[in-house]
Amino acid sequence: MYCAKSLIVRLLFLARISEFSHQRSGLEKVILATMKMADGSTILRRNRPGTKAKDFSRWPDEPFEEMDSTLAVQQYIQQQIRREPANIDVILTPPDAQDEGVWKYEHLRQFCMELNGLAVRLQSECHPETCTQMTATEQWIFLCAAHKTPKECPAIDYTRHTLDGAACLLNSNKYFPSRVSIKESSVAKLGSVCRRVYRIFSHAYFHHRTIFDEFENETYLCRRFTAFVTKYNLMSKDNLIVPIMEEEGSGETDA
């Protein structure tokens, strides 16, 4: 039964490989129907309206092999994070035979999404009057690259623009047209996005420490991010200035 089901799943996945075919073929429909029939109680991983907040996305995990969607990688990452946010190793370990470019891309998307939480908290405290420039330590002032000519935006603007810019870039059809394969030329973009996004962490750490700590304790995001960029060499170590109290942390190095 399991073999048949996985076979069916793989068939489906193959059938759906071509992303631009919007027609669901008759074959797919038949396969789906049989799948439903074979498996008496299919688990529907859905958040229906009326679901309580604590029950949101609370469904049994799905093994990666059985995920037949084009968004399988994102699903998998989110699932791992939900299960245990602090277990960075597990989260960052790609499944077998997973394309590394796609893996990095999807993780970066997830980071940008979760950073939104930090931005929301910063909005309350980080005002243009108090943080007129985007700085972390005293040495560097970061210019916002979202404008035609780099501009010295206040910190909150920098944060917003960077996140918005990252969203545009990561979603742009030009650089990342597909979610199951990444062009080689676009992989370099990931690095620059990482660099800019990291500055948000560093500003928060040095200037809004309480917010940073609160956020970090909940999400472990900075640690995960640091581990991520280190593992895939997306940023130079010199730039990683936020001290991570962990054995694999990069330590405090002044940029």
């Binding site: 919007h22 859905r46 949101f56 909005q123 917003r160 059809n173």
Partner: protein, 729 residues
Amino acid sequence: MKIPSQCGGPTMEDSSPSQNHNGQLGPSSGGINVGNKQSDEGNQKTQYSIPGILHFIQHEWARFEMERSQWEVDRAELQARIAFLQGERKGQENLKNDLVRRIKMLEYALKQERAKYHKLKYGTELQQGDMKPPIFDEPGGPEAPVDGEAPFTSVSNVSWRQGRQLLRQYLQEIGYTDTIIDVRSNRVRSLLGLNNNAESEENLNNAPVVTALNGNESSNKRASENQGRRTPAKKAQPSSLAEAMILDTEAAVIANFEFLSQTDVDMDDDDDMSDDLEPPDDDDQDDVKTTKRKGKSLMLNEGLADDVDAEAEEVLNELNLLTETEDSGSDIHTQGDPTDWGGAGMGFQPGAGHRRQMGAGGLGDEDVPNLGLGELAQLTVNNEAEAAYDIATTKESYRKTWNAKYTLRSHFDGVRALAFHPVEPVLITASEDHTLKLWNLQKTVPAKKSASLDVEPLYTFRCHTGPVLCLAMSATGEQCYSGGLDGAIHCWNLPCANIDPYDSFDPGVLTGNMEGHTDAVWGLSIHSQRLQLLSCSADGTVKLWSPTSKVPLLSTYISDQDGAPTSVDFIRDEPNRMVAAYNSAHCIVYDLESGKPVVRLETTQEVDNNVIGRQINCVVAHPTLPLTITAHEDRHIRFFDNTTGKLVHSMVAHLDSVTSLAVDPNGLYLLSGSHDCSIRLWNLDNKTCVQEITAHRKKFDESIFDVAFHPSRPYIASAGADALAKVFV
């Protein structure tokens, strides 16, 4: 009656002894009788005495006299009333005659003007038959309307066909070949779904001829189109279409007929079109009059100008068919028409009616039909015309297939809700990545390869700390409200649609939040007129808010037995009601003021242990009918009547659960989105699927979360779990 009481009472009246009174003083005679009687009272009890008898007789007589006087009074009253009514009637007739006289005068003036114009324009005399000043019949004329028509039918059936032939011939002279005529007629037929009203095609086909001439004629054509479409379609559709459609549809039709050179007169037509609705007349009468008109058209002399007249005649015939002649007079108002024909147009419809009534000799009546009908055709086309017209073109604009035009990529996680701006091509999306984004569809990114354009967001709204689940846009488009998993409802002031995406942070965008829910807010709905917001939450409550007041929370509605509410909507055709749908598949209509359930919408009796399997995912109230539509997890869409609560219709709509519904602003179409990756457009009249669009990919088992119509533009949008929102045109 005084007499009996006086008989009983011992009033002694000294009165004149004469017992020969003559009825005018009944009571006093009664008194006299009493006085006389008293003396005889002793005798009366035991025997009939002469005085007693006399008394009795007098008594009766007095009574009769009283009654008679009563009747005399009544009669006088009634006669007075009769006189009054007669006077009124005379007054009305005079009024009518005056109006008719005026009409004739105006018609005559119109003809004069037309001749002048024609002379100026073409340098020739307008041949339009005798232009004698109208003769004013005395009131005998108008009084046989029905009789006057009967002979028309018999005579003009033949001439009607001849008229058509003539027109066809004219068209061919111009170069408008038969094939084009046929094509157009077929097209119109298919648009209207008709097979049998040949007249309308003729009108439509003949109409383009007009445009070659001058601007007035072009408007004539438009009106005649309206006429053509109106007659058949008016039966099909109730005359309750929004007039906002009118301009859109007119634009569409203008686009269709490119050879329209003059658009200024078209604009006049636009003004024209916004009239009161008139109920349709008898159809029999319609045909009669139409045929009569066609007969009249024969009488026109040759020349293209007369062609115009003929068509305009037909147009106007149609016009008259559907309006009461008297009533229409009030509807006509002058538009901003530079020519003075507008004034002439004013009198037209009653005039046409008058013509009809003018006598059986109408066929031979040269002067009257040969009015300058081109410009008259622009006059107030009643809404029957535009109703059908709108229907036809709306059908056209919706009947074409919807194609993906814009893809909105910027969210990182599934887009849970979206809402269009009421006016501008702007929409807002709410996503599970905790943000909302504002998009302007006119700011597209230059696309490289695909047909669909990419749009980038203008603004990102950050405040929620959990996935944003629902969204509502205020009727003015200045504020929007969002509800999320964190239980907060935030109110945002929308930034202008032309801002720079990378502007500085404006803390004024977030204007407030409404606290009250303790769990995820899954549904929001905003009232179209009042600024009131309904929200439903997984904590089991539905709350009503007035966001601008000091204490925003107005009331809370809880239903203990139904589980958690999943979706709410205001009932649009009644002022104080709302409908709430629950995940136990029940749906309840509440009265907002009292908070009590008013109607429980009948849910299906399917024996399905899995209640979740029947849960209602979305409920929408129809904008004009008392209808509620629900989308169910069991793939059905169900329609309920609001007043009785009965299930009106149920249909399997998709291959997987139906997640969202949207009704178009005119109430004709329904859009449904489902987790089977497709959105379907349904015609609400016959509940058939007009189009299916496959869009979005699945994430886990979810695919499409929300669909929406633009309130005023031809856009529909869908929000998917793949973090995309797509807009179709």
